[in-house]
Amino acid sequence: MTARMRWRLFVRSFFIQALWSFENMQGLGFGFCMGPWLRERCGASPPETRRALARHCEYFNTQPYMAGLAIGMACALEERVSASAAEDRPALERKLRSLKSCAAGALAAIGDSFFWGAWRPFCTVLALAIGMTTVTCGAPPWTVAVAAAGGYVLVFNTPVLILRWRGVGLGYRWQDRFAAELGRFPWQKSVKAARLAGTGLAAGCALVGLFTIMTGAPGRGAAAAAALAAGWAARAYGLTSRRLYAAVWLIGTAAAVVGFRW
């Protein structure tokens, strides 16, 4: 695979969800990503290109940041299909479909648990910590805004972009050794490390915030601590954000009715 082709696949992988639907999920987007490769491999035969494109426009769903690995793997297997004799093709195409489906599930499980379940909450806490630090240092509002937002985008996207770029090459190299190679990465350790670091940062932010409030108004500090615990309990109970917001409104209203002053 040439560097130019890898770049084209990498850029197209940013649009894998652009035609997302309930029935087909990322299927059409995956077909779009594979377009340049299929045209290059089957360029001499437009009907063959369309047949290959139809294969890749079928149902597909995985975590978008991990999709590069599946795209690379599919490219390698398509290369084998186009290089094989006509009688071997149906079996190879079945193998490609089956491997793509298995890879999608495995990549989704890993990617959802790391990127959505650990990395995104960690980056949220990090942005909050950056914002609190810049406020404490007396920085002007625009610095706080740019530092918190910029820090979030920069830190979140560093592993994302590396994985998206390297994923195409790795998937292409791994081919059907995909599952074994994927198992070598310490995904679970990374998830735990991100959650642990996030918990530590969140505890630090909460303690600094509570200490700041309590030194000025102990009653408000106690109310903030109670709100923190109630937020945890609400999520453990499965309360939705809108219901929680409405419940807090009602609590505040009831407190005002009985004469409580904040």
Partner: protein, 209 residues
Amino acid sequence: MIGESAGMLAAGAAVVAAAELDSTLALQLMVSRPIVLGPLLGLGMGNALMGAFVGLIVELYSHDKIPIGGLIPANAAVSAGAGLLLALGPGAVGLPVAVPAGLFLGWLHERLVDSPLRRRRGRLAHSTAEALARGVDAPLGRMIAQELALQFVATWALLIAALVVLKPLGMRTWAVLSPTALGTGLWFAALAAPWFGMGMLAHSLRLNR
């Protein structure tokens, strides 16, 4: 002057609609996250701290809503953007009304824009599969450009309609509610929201998930 202010709100709505594309359809570089969009939009509209506060609340209330499989959560980018556009600019609505109104609009966007457009794309997938089976080319790149444009226009239109309706309504509602216990309750809900949200965030970071 009025035209200039209306232009600022329309441009703000366009920024939110463009950033919203990042949430699912394209890029996913997280510029659509409320904690990023809020401060930057606030900065652009002249109040970075208000932007950071609204962005933080919506982020903490929506960080664990994950767009996986067939699940479409309330749109966090629209919630934060709409909340800010209501709270800033001409005819600004009080923050305690703007935040819940923003959360409501995020939910409404899921119902009125996201779900119908995804059903439409499902029909597109059927017709593409049929076209390829018949030996006709499928212009996937053009389809993507059309769908992105459609999503952008639909989100922008929803935001503009919401601003036209909710700005005057919110102002009047807040004028009536603010001296009452209901108004105090709304202030409490807005000011306590970051603490409730932090509790929710800590819950989602627990190790034994």
